[in-house]
Every structure is written in structure tokens, then in C-alpha cells.
Subunit: 418 residues, 2 copies
């Protein structure tokens, strides 16, 4: 059987399974999730063996150490995957919630009811943890899922998938509720992205290249988890000790994630009193500074930022720094170079804070706090399928609710339209 | 200036204007809407003259009478357009609504706030009323709009547009908040659909060909208002006099609209007692019946339905009729041929009603009422931008709320992540 036929079959079966899954009780879904969590732990040794094959191949192919780090499965990571499934089991089932209910003058009762989206395809790279996280979130939200992970993690993904699927079977759920495309051919992605009749949503997770590819080729709606070029603007009316703490945290605490700050914008009045101390803190923590001419003049270790720097997501201990005349210039900079993810203002002036909140067109806009809080857990969603930088359907952290849609259920007693 | 440059300029300016429009007060938006409503009435004569040019051209091109009917502007239609703008002015402004507010254990206050989407492009055919309706809805929801209507209505659209834009200027709103692409070249659509940096959402309104074209070519998220292949299933446990009334209404009251019934499914137990009377009612009202073999045998005027009939949106006094063994077969038929718009069950059995509501994957699912109620006004939304048959972001009737998205505003006092 060729690729195309195989993937088409998976999608058709997933669609069918999604109709069954949509009406499965919360109890059964939770039991299945707990079974999955247990099974991962019980099969730790087997998972590590499968993962070693992937690691061996990746090393032979000369993949960099950051890549290998994302790929590796060890006892700790498997325990985390298991915990994550358990925590999804504790979350409220979003399916069936009555979002709104209206009785119309003609007596019609109109209920807006939360329902699963249907079939969700997740296209990702070499992090095997995405396999179990996606399965857990989609199962709980009543969606069938089709996974297509990177070829470098294929043995790990197959091992995880097989373990989790056995729990579906145990609780008599349709096996096609979760699916893994085993073909590592790039064309498999193109085929998936064309099956709009059977797949309702595509979520790409990974680097810029993958996301752009999916966006360009998909015939199915896509929710993107794109770049996080996060800014902090320190205003002349900021509490400077608060600013010092927040800016440091946003860059240094975990620089490799999308909600870390990539650009610091500082009001011109702070060039002498605040900026030297701030840069000193950052440089002492190993942060490389790429800045405008004014900053470079006063800080010898700083490099000149190029035009490209302002729109680069470093994901590393590197920071762009720019002095701005005022809030207006800060807003213009963010509007031009931002990625609509997370941006913060540090100020004690309420009017300026309000203006920043309103004018910055990003998923998450902060006043006097670190951008690092943009995260499903920190927002109280319990779990997340990433951070949407799109504006339709879901924006910011995507939890279970964002994996649902709604339908209208209308109850009449013979009403007709005149 | 060529097409591409002109459209790019429009889109860039619209993006800029959208940021201004997003923070305009409800009062100013309402005054502008009322000015627009007045101006249409005052300029009735001029609008009719412009429309006559379009009608003249369309007749010369031999367009059918249904087409000419959609294109025509007369005093009554202009009054309707004006009324519609007035009614949008009375609706609650959705912008700024706090959807949810959470205080986290670390003290962070997280507000989920409703905001405009940004720039919405509407691509439509020859109904000039869409021009003013779209402008009214987008203005009230704080979105800049780019309109691209069919070339047959270009003179009418320009006339409407110029009148409405003067009101924007009068109330000091940015003129680029509303835009009309005057090029009637098909390529203009392709260019629009590529400008994902500046346009946030595309809504195609019109026939199947246009919608499929937009879906295929768009690099921007699309919300489709696609076919309405609406079903009514009359169960063996139906109240038959209720069924007779509702089925008749759903087909005959206004057959040319998307929420009219196109297929009647009847339980096999009703072939003798109910079906002959029902078909007689329908045929007396001029409805052509296209049915399965069993029905054709007992009703001499019925034609045999072809496979194609089950997936055809007639928008006319034609009805497909099929006898089914039971609810299960009805559900299978709807799942196979339905378009996810509106479907109804007529039954007194609550369990069956519940099963139908759950298993039919359509925007609107009815129990004992006519599908004709799927409509923004009937649902109490006050106005509508059509009926979404998509599942993401908006489903069913799209009102002002569906033209918005949200952002998170987060208020801290120096919180950092550890």
C-alpha cells in the first residue's frame, strides 16, 4: 500500500472514531488517561531502549547537542510525561458545557454547547514528549488525533504510541482515536495537509521552517505556534528595582523558550541611572548584548545590533537592546518587529500602562511582570498544547477549551418561520 | 500604479487604521453608523443611477434574471440597507468586554479581554447590500475592512462606499478603516489573499466557485459560508401534524436560502400514513420531488433521485426524499451528504432527539422546529455576517462577537518566574 492510500485510510478511520469519541463519558476518558500514565512508567525500560536507537542514529547524522537533548528520553522525562497525563485526567471535561442558553420570543430554546473539533493533526519535530502530551489533551477534549513526528524520533514515537493505544483498547475506545503516521517521508506531510474532508485542524509544533511549510501547504485550518519575539519596555516612570528584577528574569531564567524576552526597550531618561546596572546584571549572567549605537558607546562589551537582530528569536543568552524616546517609539518598535506573543511594560503610570495594553496587538500583554508567565499552567489552564500566535479561534496558551468548538442545539414545539 | 502596489497600499493603510479603530469609543462608532444610515437615504437617487449603469451592463452581458434581481438597488432595498446600519448601532459594542478574569496564587491578575480581529477582507459577488452590511458590522466590531465585490456591481459599490466614507471623515475616523478594491481584475483577489502580514481574516460570500477559489488560494485564515444541504428526519415517533407543518415551512416558505431544507428523510413506518399527505402538500405548492425507488413507486409525479441529488443545494422548489429504516440510517445519510449547516429531527422520543443532537455534526441541530431559523436575527444576535459552516473560531450565524478575538491583559507587581 502506498503512502497516500495509507494516510487517507488513517484519516478516514480517525474521522469515524472521532464521532464515537465525542460522546465518551468523562469517567472512561479519565480511566484511559490514568492507564496511559501507568503504562508509560511500567514500560520505562522499553521506551529508553527504543529511544536509544533514535539517539544512535541522530548522533551518526551529526545532530547538534541541543537537538539530542530534545530527543532524549530518560526516567525523569518519562515520569514527567506520565504526570502530565495524570494532570489532564484531573482537569474538567470541556465537552458538553452549555456556553449560553437563550429562550427566544417564539419559544425556541437555543443552547450553545461545547463540542470537540473532530480530528486534529499534530505535525512536530523531534520531541517525543509531544506524542503523549498531544494524545492526552486530544483524548480528554474528545478529539481524534493524527500524529506526525520527525523521523529522528520515530522509534521513540512508535514505542510511546503502542503503549498508549493498548489503554484505548482496554477501555473499549476506538483504536483509531489516536493515530501515528509512521512514514518518515516528507511527502506524508503534504498528503495530510490536503485531507480537509477528514481533518478539521492542523497544529504544527516546531521550528520556523516547519511552521511556514505547514502554513503554505495546508488546505486545512492551521493554528500556529510561531515565534516569540517578546519585548519589555522600561518606562521613565518605572519602579527601577522592580524593572531590574523582571528584566533579568525574563531573559535569564530560561532563555530557550518562546516566552523569554528577546528585546529590551529602555526610555531615554534611563540611559544613565538604570541601563548600566541592568546591562551589568545581564552580562554577569553571560548575556550577550546587541544594541543600538548609543548603548554601544557606553557599554564596551555590547555589539552593534543589525536590522535583522530586532526580528530574531534568539532562544539563547543574547538580548537586543534599544533606547527609545518615549512610549510611542516603543509601541512602534513592537508593532514593527514583534511576533504577537508576549510583551511587557514596566511603569508606575496607569495611563501609559493602559495605552500599552490597548495598543500592543499581542496574545499576552503584561504590566510589571515577566513575560515568562505566558504558559498554560501559569494561566491556570492545567495543561497546554502550546501558545497560539494566531488571532482566530485560539490566542495565547491553548488548553482543553481551545481544542473544542461549539454547536447550537435548538429545541422547538413545531415553530415555523413566517 | 499597478494592481499589486495599489492593493498592497490599501492593506497597509487598513492595518494602520485598524489600530486606531480598535480604540474608538462606542459613541463615535454609533454616530458614524447613524450618519451612514441617513446618508444612504439622502443619496437614494444617486445610488439608483449608479446601479442602473451596472444593471445596463449586466443585461447586455445576458445575465439571468435571478442575477439581475440580486444586483438591483431600489428605494426599498436602500431603505433596508439604512435600517440595517441603524440596527447595528443599537447593538452592544463587543470590544473591551472582560470575558474572564482570574487572580493567580502568585497575585497576577489575568484578564481575557475581547478585542477586534484587525483587518477583515470580504470577497463577494453582485449583491451591493453586502457592501454596507459588511462596513456596518466591521465598524461596530472595531475592524478595518477591505471589500472586493463582483465587477457587475462595481458602480453601485463605489457609490455606496463613497457615501459611507464621508461619514468616517465627518467623525474623524481614519478613512482607511473602510476600503474598496476598485480593480475588477480577478488577479486582485489573488493579491489580496496573499497579504497575510496585513489582513487577519478573509470571508468569502457568494457561490460555491468563489468560496472554493478563496479557500484554495488564501494564505490568510478563511471563514467559509458554504453550502446549506439541510435535512429533516421525520421519525416514526413524530407528532405527524407538527411534522407536516415544519417540513412544509422548511422547504416552501423561502426555498432560495441556505437554511431551507433540501432533503427529507422519512422513517419507513411512515410510508403509508404520512408520506403521501406530505408529498401532496409539497407538490401542491409546486415542489418537484426527487426520490428513491420506493417513493417513486407510490408517487407518480416523483422523479428518481440520482446520487448527485443527495449532495445538491437546490435553492429552489425541489426536494430530495428518502425512506430510511431508522434513526441510524438517517444519521449515516446526514453524515455522508450533509454540509454541516442545519439539520432537524421531528420526534416525540427524547432519547432519539438526544442522539440526533449529539451525533449530527452540524452548526445548528433542531428538534421539532424548522431549519429556517438558522439566522443571526432569529438567534438574537441582531445582525449577521452570514452563517459559518466551518468549525474553527465561528460556527453558525456570525454576529459582532464572532468578528472579535481576545487578548490577555496581565497585571503584576514585579512577579518573576522561578
Amino acid at each position: 500500500m502506498d503512502n497516500k492510500q495509507e494516510i487517507l485510510n488513517i484519516a478516514k478511520k480517525a474521522k469515524k472514531a472521532s464521532r464515537v469519541l465525542a460522546v465518551v463519558s468523562e469517567t472512561v476518558k479519565n480511566k484511559t488517561l490514568l492507564c496511559m500514565a501507568d503504562s508509560l512508567i511500567k514500560n520505562t525500560a522499553g521506551l529508553i531502549r527504543a529511544n536509544e536507537k533514535d539517539l544512535h542514529q541522530a548522533k551518526r547524522r551529526g545532530k547538534p547537542s541541543a537537538f539530542l537533548d530534545r530527543l532524549v528520553l530518560n526516567e525523569k522525562r518519562i515520569a514527567q510525561m506520565s504526570e502530565s497525563l495524570k494532570s489532564v485526567a484531573t482537569l474538567k471535561d470541556p465537552v458538553g458545557e452549555v456556553i449560553k442558553s437563550t429562550r427566544r420570543p417564539n419559544g425556541l430554546l437555543i443552547k450553545k454547547v461545547r463540542v470537540p473539533i473532530g480530528v486534529v493533526a499534530i505535525i512536530y519535530e523531534a520531541r517525543p514528549g509531544v506524542t503523549s502530551d498531544s494524545i492526552g489533551l486530544c483524548l480528554k477534549s474528545g478529539n481524534a488525533v493524527i500524529l506526525r513526528g520527525g523521523r529522528e524520533a520515530i522509534n521513540s514515537n512508535i514505542a510511546i504510541f503502542n503503549i498508549l493505544r493498548r489503554c484505548l483498547v482496554k477501555y473499549k475506545l476506538p483504536p483509531a482515536a489516536i493515530n501515528l503516521v509512521k512514514s518518515t517521508d516528507r511527502k506524508a506531510i503534504d498528503i495530510l495537509l490536503s485531507l480537509k474532508e477528514f481533518i478539521d485542524l492542523v497544529i504544527p509544533r516546531g521550528g520556523q521552517g516547519l511552521i511556514e511549510l505547514v502554513e503554505r501547504k495546508s488546505m486545512i485550518p492551521v493554528i500556529k505556534h510561531y515565534k516569540g519575539i517578546c519585548h519589555i519596555y522600561v518606562d521613565n516612570q518605572a519602579d527601577l528595582s522592580l524593572a531590574r528584577k523582571v528584566v533579568f528574569n525574563a531573559k535569564v531564567q530560561r532563555p530557550g523558550v518562546c516566552n523569554a524576552m528577546e528585546t529590551l526597550l529602555v526610555h531615554q531618561a534611563l540611559v544613565r541611572e538604570f541601563l548600566p546596572i541592568m546591562l551589568n546584571d545581564l552580562q554577569a549572567a553571560g548575556v550577550e548584548i546587541r544594541a543600538d549605537a548609543q548603548v554601544c558607546k557606553m557599554n564596551k562589551a555590547a555589539k552593534r545590533a543589525t536590522e535583522r537582530d530586532w526580528s530574531t528569536e534568539y532562544l539563547d543568552l543574547i538580548l537586543s537592546v534599544k533606547v527609545v524616546r518615549d512610549l510611542k517609539e516603543a509601541l512602534e518598535h513592537i508593532s514593527r518587529y514583534g511576533s504577537g506573543h508576549s510583551d511587557a511594560i514596566i511603569t508606575e503610570n496607569r495611563t501609559k500602562a493602559k495605552e500599552f495594553l490597548t495598543k500592543v496587538d499581542s496574545a499576552c500583554v503584561y504590566v510589571n511582570a515577566s513575560t515568562r508567565f505566558t504558559d498554560g499552567y501559569e494561566f491556570g489552564l492545567g495543561a497546554e498544547m502550546g501558545i497560539s500566535t494566531d488571532k482566530l479561534h485560539a490566542r495565547g496558551p491553548m488548553g482543553l477549551e481551545e481544542l473544542t468548538t461549539y454547536k447550537y442545539e435548538i429545541f422547538g414545539r413545531g415553530q415555523i418561520r413566517s
